[in-house]
Amino acid sequence: MFVCLITVSFLTLLFPAWYDDRMPTLTKYILIIVVLFLPAVVWASSTSAYQEYLQEFDKYRTVLNDFKVARSEYLKFKTLTSQQTALEKTKQMLADRSQLLRSYLQFLNEKLNESKSMDPTDKALYQTLIKNEVTFLNNHTALMGSIGSIQDADGVSKQLSSHYTLLESSIYQTIVGLKFAELSSLDTLYYDLFTKSYALIGENRSSYTSEKQSILDRWLLQIQNKRDLYKQKTDEITKENATLKSASLSEITASYQRVLKSMSEARQYLSEGTSFLQELGTSMQYGE
């Protein structure tokens, strides 16, 4: 939109008469261009957020190394100079650590924005979780200005440590939500194609021999069985997702790993079922 405004102003200044004649046509063209390029802009937002996150990660690694060196020098020499250096490096590391987490949450938020398969209610829920975490991190960063000693820095750092379980839980819930929405969208498509195949076979039943009809019926049943197995796995995921809100960090990580395993198995059932659908499709064109 900003580019649009600049273009229009530029043309108005340079060619006032010509612009007056062609203004409606131009406006139309510019709007079309904007509409055409909008998806590209939306697509680029998660990619650019990811690039920004990676840059922040690199910065954090460098600052963390500097902090570790300053800390070990301070613990070794206990001089005022080494104490001052350690304090400065600690403050820098805390600020960059918070910024890294914010950039990561921003990336997750962009991923949610781009997700076409996610239910809007779920999307709003996950975005609220992220928003709350960003607010916490903003407040956490604001505290860094008041750090005057290593003890202060330790206190501010402990604030994040005590909140980190909740933050990690929100992160994992969002990732699971994103992947689950992707799986559900594939399942919807799978079920739609299954019902279409079922209907087409039903409509053309007279074209097949009785033997062929029984074979097709059996195959349809096997395809449906694969979906039942998929559904069982998704139930497991839903149950496991509840433990992602657990109090312990190790429990959350273990639960997340179990959810990933279940999702992988659910995807495998869909893959096998789709392979069966392909075979069914090939077989459907022959009468015997």
């Binding site: 800390r71 994992y172 594939l186 053309n204 995807r267 893959s271 392979s275 392909q278 022959y286 009468g287």
Partner: protein, 120 residues
């Protein structure tokens, strides 16, 4: 009879004249060795320059094959609904293959939480 040694005529062994037979020489083994080397080299050269014997290729023979049983194609096979269905199934299959459950880009960053300063 008694002759002293001094009185005895000095007998000089006389070489008797006669036709001396030419001494028979033994067969010179060097010739055998040389012959063996020549045979070896020529054999090696022959082996190198010799064209490999053509491997007899099996000639294809016309074996009678049973003619494939033609399956009857149902009218559904040409309908747009069927064609669209098969395309959608192929598309779904590729979408499932592309989907990554454990997306490493989504993994949260690993950060260091305790600062590691002893309590002062």
């Amino acid at each position: 009879m008694d002759q002293t040694i001094a009185e005895m005529p000095h007998q000089i062994p006389v070489q008797q004249p006669g036709i001396q037979e030419p001494r028979k020489k033994g067969f010179d083994l060097r010739y055998v060795f040389l012959a063996l080397i020549i045979i070896g080299i020529s054999g090696g050269l022959f082996a190198v320059t010799r064209k490999p014997a053509p491997i007899p290729m099996p000639t294809p023979t016309d074996t009678p094959t049973p003619s494939p049983k033609t399956k009857t194609v149902v009218p559904l096979a040409t309908q747009s609904a069927y064609l669209s269905l098969t395309q959608s199934i192929a598309s779904l299959s590729s979408q499932i293959q592309e989907m990554q459950v454990s997306d490493t880009t989504l993994s949260p960053p690993t950060i260091e939480l305790p600062l590691g300063f002893p309590n002062e």
